[in-house]
Every structure is written in C-alpha cells, then in structure tokens.
C-alpha cells in the first residue's frame, strides 16, 4: 500500500446539508445531471419537497402551510445494503468511503437487487443501457481535489462537503455547529449524508 492509499484510508467523505438555507433551487440536480451526463429521465440527485404531493407544493390548508426541501442522493452508507446484495461486486466502497456503482460490472435488468435493498430509493434503473446507476459522489472530481458537482453548484451555504474524519473539514465544522441527523437511522445503514435540521 502506498502513501496515498494510506491517506485515503483515513478519510471518510460525507455531506452535511443545512436545510434552513436550502431553497429547493435544484442547481445541484442540474449540475449533477450535466457533470455525469445522466440519461434523460434518470436522476442521481433529486431535491424532494417536504410538503404537498408535488414538487414545490406545501403541506397544510391555506393559509396554514409549510414546505421545505431535502436534497436526496446516495447516502454512501458505511454499512451499505446495496453492496451486500450485489451478486457481481459492481458496488464497492473506496478507501475514502465513497460507495461506487460501476455500471460496466452490473449484470443488468434481470437483477435490480440493489434497488430493492436501498432504503433511500436512490439507485436508478437505466432501462436504455440495461444497468443500475447512482451517485458516485463525483469521485472523478474528488480525486482531482475538487468538490462533487452538486456541492460546487450550491451557492446558498446549504451544502458542506468534506472528510468527516478531519475535524477541520467544512462538513465536520458544520456538524459541530449544528445538530444534524441522517435519514432512516433505524435501518442501521450508517449513512454519511447529514441533514440539519431534519
């Protein structure tokens, strides 16, 4: 193992969202789409509305209404159920914690086990290509020392990315500053995407 591999081992990349600052603008979704050239009709990154039944509709009855948004992407779980069920090892965890689905290794539409195993519904079926797909946290950018496209696109100080093992990282700092929770903690998947306040 060389030095940089060792370095990666010490890392655990994650994202912290400050939902007070998220306005549901979807710049993150668009940036993801463009950066990863995601097939039409498929979204690796979505901004879900917590409110009414549709995007940007509120809960409640006029005028007692509420609405907020939750950016949703692969949670890069430390205990990822998708990895456990994949028969072809198409889903792997990098040393830096990023959970990567390699479509070339996916055995295709006859399986779909990962999509059922994921409690967050973030693994997409690409009917056109016959493979499963998901957010790989723009690891090609992370390897260049850059932020994932969705994080880069957020100009509202709502998204904080970084190494959760590094107390100085933006993400760690935000976690220290604000109470944050993961989605579906009861599933024991140990996600690394945090939301404040949930």
């Amino acid at each position: 193992m060389n030095a940089s591999e060792e370095d990666k081992l010490k890392k655990q990349y994650g994202i912290v969202y400050d939902l007070e600052r998220c306005i549901g603008c979807q710049a993150c979704s668009v940036a993801c789409k463009i950066e990863n050239n995601v097939t039409e009709g498929i979204a690796w990154h979505e901004v879900k509305t917590v409110g009414g039944a549709h995007v940007d509709t509120p809960a409640g009855v006029y005028p007692n209404l509420s609405m907020h948004w939750v950016p949703t992407l692969c949670m890069h779980c430390k205990d990822a159920p998708c990895m456990d069920v994949c028969p072809s090892n198409a889903i792997t965890r990098r040393a830096d914690g990023i959970v990567v689905l390699e479509p070339d290794d996916c055995i295709g539409l006859g399986c779909k086990k990962c999509t059922w195993a994921c409690p967050y519904g973030v693994i997409e079926v690409n009917e056109q290509e016959g493979v499963m797909e998901k957010c790989n946290l723009c690891n090609h950018l992370v390897d260049e020392g850059k932020q994932p496209a969705c994080v880069d696109a957020c100009v509202y100080e709502a998204t904080f990315f970084g190494d959760l093992n590094d107390p100085q990282s933006e993400a760690s700092q935000k976690l220290k500053e604000k109470k944050a929770e993961v989605q579906l903690p009861e599933r024991g998947t140990d996600p690394v995407v945090f939301y404040s306040p949930k």
């Binding site: 979807q26 668009v30 463009i34 039409e40 509709t57 509120p58 006029y62 209404l65 609405m67 100009v155």
Partner: protein, 794 residues
C-alpha cells in the same frame, strides 16, 4: 450513457487538460441578475458553466440552475440554423432556406420601399430581449438602436410587464431604480419585507442576502397571496388578497402616524410632508401665490415658531430658525391649504385597521402586528415585488408602500430602503457608439401602443431582435389576427424558433451569449462577455446583422468599426477609471470598478432626483384623476369586479425557477419541469367536479387555454396559477397569453389614465436622458388582473 438531448460531440466529463475558460454574461433569462458565468470550453464546445468569481464581491459569485444549464444553449435542438423565408401563408410553417445575402437584400429592399412610401418611422425596431446581456451592450439593443436611429425607425420603449414599483420610484424618488440599498446592506436591516415577489425563485442571488440577514437575526416578512419558496422561508408570511397592497400600506401608515412611529425630523427635511398644498386645485402652494414678488419655483411651509408661512426653495432641507409644521390646515392670502403630510394622514385615516383587514382579507391583529414589527423593529428594508406591477393599480399600490417607508426615515440609511430595484453600483459605459450615431433620433412609441400603431397603418414593418412579443404581450390572439396580418414585413432574429417567428416572413439565426463578444456592467464590475466558441451553423450577432443591413441602406459609413473598437469606445467613460479592453482580457474579462463613496446606500445624501429634491409621496400632476395621493382601487378585473360573476376564478402567472421567461427549451431544466400544469386549490377543483390530472379548459372572453391541473394548497382559494415561460406547443390548445388583460385597448388607448400622464411627462425625461436606454420604464403593457372560468375537457 450518452445524453441524447445535446450534440453527441459534447463530452461533459471532459478533463481540464485542454480546457479554456471564458467569462460570459448570463443573459439573465428574465431575472435581471445577470451573473457573470465562467464557461469551460474543450475542443470548441462548452462543456460546463460555473459561476465566475466576482472581484471585490466574492459573496456574489453565483450561477443558478438556468445559468448552469445554459451550457446547452448553442446546441439546443430547436436552434435556428440558417436564414429562412416563408413560402406559405403566415403561420403555415412552410419555409424555404435562403442565403444571408438574399435575406438581407430582401429586408433592406423592403425597408427602403416602405420608407419611400410611408416614411422611415413606418418601420419598427423591437428587441433587446432575453438572449442578450443587459442593456448597454452592442448586441443588447445597442446595434439595433444605432441602426434604428440612423434610419429613423420607430423604437418601442418600455417594458412589457414591469410597472408599479418603478413608477412609484419615479414619482417618489425621481428615479425608477432608486430607494433601496445594495443587497449586501440587507444584513443591516432588522426587518425585511419582501412584498409581492417570489425572490427565492426569480432573483436567487439577491435572496442569498436575505437568508444571510436572517441568519444574523433579521426578521423576514413576506407579503404575498401565494405560498411560494420565498414565503416558505419567511419568518412570517402574510397571505394578502391580491392587488390590495396599497390598502395594507395605508392601513399600516395610519397606525404608524397614530402611534407616532415615524421620524418627524426626517419627514420635515426629506419629504414633501411640510409643503402646503392648495385645497382648490391640488397644486403645491408656491411663494408667488401669496406674494407677487415671490418665486413660482419656491414652495411654502407653515412655520410653527412664527405661526406664519415661509418660502422654501427646492433642494433645501431646512430654513434657519423655522420649524415647518407637518400637520394642519392654513389659510394664506385667502388660499386654503393643508400640509402634504396632513393630506397623507387624512388619506391613511380612511384605512382603519378594521377596514384594511376587510379589504386585504387579513385578521385585524395582522395589521397591528405588522406596524409593531415594521415600524418599531428598524431599520427596515422593503423590496417591492414585481408582482405589484402586474396589476392595474400597481403604481398606486407601490406608491402607498413607498409613502409609508418615507416617513420612517429609513430611506437613504443603512439597513433601510423601499424600492422595486436593489442593486450594486454598476459602472457606466459610454453609450455613444451604440446609441447616438449622429444627431438624428428615432421615433419613439410606447410599448402598449404598438398594437394600435400597426392596426392604424402607422407601422408597416417590424424587425424583432431577440424578443418574442407573442409570448410576452397581452392578448396574443389580437396580435395574430389583427396586428400581424397588417404588416408588410415581419422579421425575427432569434436563437430558436419562437411563437413570433412562426408568423414571420423572414427568420434569421442569431448568436447566443457564448458566440459573440460584448460588454456590460454588474456587481460593481465591468464585464467583458467573451466569445467562447465559434457561432454555430450560420448564426450572426445583432451587431453583424445591423452592419450588413446598414451597408444595404446606404448607412455603411456608420458601421465601419470593429467590435473591439466599439467596445474600447464604450469603456471611454469616467466611471471606468482606466479600465481597457486589454486590461479586461488580462483579468479574466472582469474587473472591479472604482465605486463612488456611499455607493452601497441609495440616496445616502438624501438628495432625491425629484423636482423638490425630496421624497414626493404627493404628486400634484395626478390630482386631476384623484391620485395625487396613493389610495386603494379595485382593479377593473378581479374577484370583486362584476366580471367575476361570469368568470369567478382569478388567473395569474408567475416566475418559477425552471422557465423564468420563455426558456423552456433548455432540456435539463425541462426534465425537472416537463409540462405546464395549472395549479388550483383542491376546494376550487372540487366545486367544479375536477380531479387532479384532468385536462381543463381555462377561458374568458379573450381566449382559452387547455392544460392539465395539479392541486396545490399554495394557491389562495379562488385563484389559479401557472408559471410563465411556456410556448403554445407546450399546451394542448391555446395559451395563457390570450387570457391576459392588455393595458391598452385599440379604441381607448392606455386604459389607466395615470399611465397617459406618466407617459407624457417621461417622454421628455427620456429625451434628456444621457442614454435613450433610460426610457420611460414602468408603464407596463401587460396586466395580470384576469378572471377566468374553468371546466373539464370531456
């Protein structure tokens, strides 16, 4: 995983090895934020668009979803590729590809023959639309205005939609865009009111400052009928009945005066409050009225110390040893007068909390709480929303808000302000090369009268650059059936086919922002919007097209300079302080200009641009129509109008993040919002036996629209809503633009008499203005007061 939506040669995962970066001015797409973008180009194609860092204002570095998605613009499927001419009936969709040579020869030939027969003013030059950088650039109306000016064409002045708050700015401050501070100052406000605007979706960069302020403890109040993203972020949302904003402001003003929540000193020194107004004619009392030796320029105040009148010149804050009265009625030289402040107080007194609550359909406690919050928790900033301009009496409503803000003393103070426009200092550019080619001036026509001018035969041809009148003018049916058929020639220059281009005789392919070089200023910077890629297909810039036309119109001598030469001349302005094209190129195309002191605070010196130099909440020139002071009037079309018997639902459109103007051609954003849906409250739907997803017919006497419905509790019951920006092909049938009320009717002229008065006054202002670009803004052409009924399509 090839994205089938754009050219296959686009590799969006391109590395950075061969990347080149260009600063490009975002077309704004209707938001007027005009963020400088950074385009990454690999092998002649744009692979990515990110925000360009802003020197001197790093916190303003911004690109929204549309800005990011605009990388696709040069390659959109609907891109116009070559000049074409109509070979079938207008609107038949039968076209023939022609050469630029043939297209330009034909257009110039027609222009000459129309000029010879009817005069050059029979040709209307319209444009400077959404594919352009902000006004001031070569291609953002600059080249077209130069050509229009030289040839003597008619230019359309005014905006289609943005009225009320800007009218109010002109009346109260003498400046359409004055009265609110740089958004970076908003953190200094204790209270921010966003009044009638979905800023979180339509002016996203600005909204960041609102959230910054909230983080630091500022209370955000949103006053709006609709629960949108902005309302969702508010500390307090006030669900007002549409178009009753003036009543609310006057109701608040009444309580503020009653409770002494106003700044007496400021009102004396910086508003027309102490000026005496004649009871007999509503004019300001002048010194010459009471003293034959006195000046007709001077105003008169009542001095409380001497209990006598005293002359007060304009642009003077106070008189030595005098204490101007704010209240009272005085009889001077036989002329009965009231102070303007007394008149305002009397007007406000007509809006008791109970009456205000009834008009605005709000609880009485809300009025009291608003006054306590806004009036005591100061300084307070009000962003008057563009929403207020979309209603018939948007000017009155906005004026009421500005009058209320005036007496707080917060205008011109850190953390204070009230305006429809809040911006950074923008360094001026020398407009000579683009506008004033020589002494000749084009003829001017207000936008709302364009319809009549064609129908009457005054206008015989229209050249439309980067603009889509059918998609942005009210009563589109009238344009299709009454206006366009009267034209001898309709030319459209655009990047994509539009509703308007469908009816054109000749359509020319224009360049996108990424395919031409231009200059503009924003965020305290001068920005060289750089050509990032070669023009796709046969596209040409407005400047090129105008140059080629000029050569055919015997005006070639005025179009000999290169783009660089013209841009250099544009930089020849004192506020550029030595910024040159070379320096811009050495600095990524963006440089911070030297801002004057206090540039952050609008009217920090309290020297307002009005005739009196003060905030003029009283406008004597409107007394003839009873509007010298703001008041509440019900719009001619609304839920309380007689028409509501027949058409009970209020219809309006608004901005949404996905399709701000008619940008529904960007595939990435269209994927997020694939089709138009009419939002209505479940109760209104149930009353009509409608289910979610039903295809419905939305109609009134002007037109119809067939569209699917989606339930949303965000809508005030009794109103239905759809986002602006869809084209006819997006609908099953019809278009919402057919439903809307025009501000001008063929047989009546401008239907709001106040607009006729403003137009008369401000034509003169426009003539005097340094740049004709500073035209009489604020006289909106399109109103959104619109009643409809909805039924299911069987």
């Amino acid at each position: 995983m090839n994205n089938p939506k754009v050219d296959p040669d686009l590799n969006t995962n391109a590395g950075t090895q061969n990347s080149e970066f260009f600063t490009v001015g975002c077309p704004g797409m209707g938001c007027h934020q005009n963020c400088p973008l950074q385009a990454e180009v690999v092998d002649g194609a744009i692979v990515k668009v990110r925000p360009q860092p802003i020197p001197g204002a790093p916190e303003e570095t911004h690109a929204c979803l549309r800005g990011i998605a605009s990388y696709e613009l040069p390659n959109v499927k609907t891109r116009l590729q070559y000049p074409k001419k109509r070979v079938g009936e207008r609107g038949s969709g039968e076209w023939q590809r022609i050469s630029w040579e043939e297209a330009l020869d034909t257009i110039a030939g027609q222009m000459i023959s129309i000029r010879d027969e009817h005069g050059p003013q029979a040709i209307e030059m319209a444009g400077s639309g959404s594919s352009s950088v902000p006004l001031g650039g070569l291609n953002a109306g600059g080249a077209t205005q130069r050509l229009a000016n030289l040839f003597g064409c008619t230019e359309v002045i005014g905006w289609p939609v943005d009225g009320g708050p800007f009218v109010a700015g002109m009346v109260n401050y003498g400046f359409f865009f004055g009265g609110a501070n740089d958004p970076r100052d908003w953190v200094n406000a204790k209270t921010i009111i966003i009044w009638g605007e979905n800023m979180a979706e339509s002016a996203m960069r600005d909204f960041n400052h609102v959230m910054q302020a909230q983080t630091q403890g500022t209370q955000l109040i949103v006053i709006s009928p609709t629960f949108d993203a902005t309302a969702a972020k508010a500390d307090w949302w006030v669900p007002i009945h549409p178009a009753t904003d003036g009543a609310l402001a006057l109701g608040m003003l009444n309580l503020m005066i009653e409770q002494g929540l106003y700044d007496v000193g400021y009102t004396r020194r910086h508003t027309v409050g102490p000026f005496l107004v004649r009871d007999d004619n509503g004019e300001f009392l002048r010194e010459s009225d009471i003293d034959s030796q006195g000046s007709a320029e001077n105003y008169v105040i009542w001095d409380e110390l001497t209990q006598k009148p005293a002359a007060m010149p304009a642009h003077v804050e106070s008189l030595a040893d005098a204490e101007p009265a704010l209240h009272g009625q005085h009889e001077i030289a036989g002329i009965s007068c009231h102070t303007a402040f007394q008149l305002l107080a009397d007007r406000a007194a007509e809006y008791s909390p109970e009456k205000t609550a009834e008009i605005c359909e709000l609880p009485v406690e809300t009025i009291h709480k608003l006054v306590t919050t806004y009036g005591s928790n100061r300084p307070s900033t009000i962003k008057v929303g563009i929403g207020l301009s979309r209603t018939f009496y948007g000017d009155l409503n906005s004026r009421a808000i500005l009058a209320m803000a005036a007496i707080t003393g917060d205008i011109g103070m850190p953390g204070g302000g009230a305006s429809g426009w809040a911006r950074h200092y923008a360094p001026m550019l020398n407009g000579d090369p683009v506008y004033a080619a020589d002494e000749r001036r084009s003829n001017r026509l207000h936008i709302s009268t364009g319809h009549n001018a064609v129908v009457n035969g005054d206008i015989r041809a229209m050249l439309v650059f980067a603009s889509n009148p059918l998609n942005s003018k009210p009563n589109a049916n009238a344009w299709i059936h009454e206006v366009i058929p009267k034209l001898d020639m309709l030319v459209v220059v655009d990047i994509v086919d539009t509703w308007t281009s469908q009816y054109a005789d000749i359509v020319l392919p224009g360049t996108t922002i990424y395919e031409r070089t231009d200059l503009y200023s924003v965020l305290g910077c001068t920005v060289l919007s750089q050509q990032a890629i070669e023009p796709k297909y046969e596209a040409k810039s407005d400047h090129e097209i105008c140059t080629l036309l000029a050569q055919r119109l015997d005006l070639g001598e005025y179009f000999t300079e290169s783009t660089d030469e013209l841009l250099e001349t544009m930089l020849d302005h004192p506020s550029q302080a030595g910024i040159t094209l070379d320096k811009l190129r050495q600095n990524n195309g963006i440089m911070q200009a030297q801002a004057p002191e206090n540039a952050m605070i609008s009217f920090a010196d309290k020297r307002f641009f009005t005739p009196s130099g003060r905030i003029e909440f009283y406008a004597p020139y409107l007394s003839a129509i009873g509007e010298a002071l703001p008041c509440h009037k019900e719009p001619p079309e609304g839920r309380r109008s007689p028409l509501a018997q027949k058409f009970p639902l209020q219809f309006y459109t608004g901005r949404r993040k996905f399709t701000n103007q008619s940008q529904s051609h960007l595939s990435t954003t269209k994927e997020l919002c694939p089709e138009p849906l009419l939002r209505m409250s479940p109760g209104d739907a149930a009353a009509r036996g409608l289910n979610e997803g039903d295809l419905v017919k939305v109609f009134n006497d002007r037109g119809l629209l067939k569209v699917k419905i989606e339930f949303s509790n965000a809508l005030r019951p009794g109103s239905v809503w759809i986002e602006h920006g869809w084209k006819p092909e997006d609908f099953v049938e019809g278009h919402y633009q057919n439903l809307l009320l025009p501000s001008n009717l063929p047989d009546q002229g401008m239907i709001n008499p106040a607009f006729q008065i403003y137009w008369g006054m401000w034509q003169e202002y426009a003539e005097q203005a340094a740049s004709p670009g500073l035209a009489p803004y604020g006289l909106a052409d399109q109103l959104f007061d619109c009643q409809v009924e909805i039924e299911k399509v069987q």
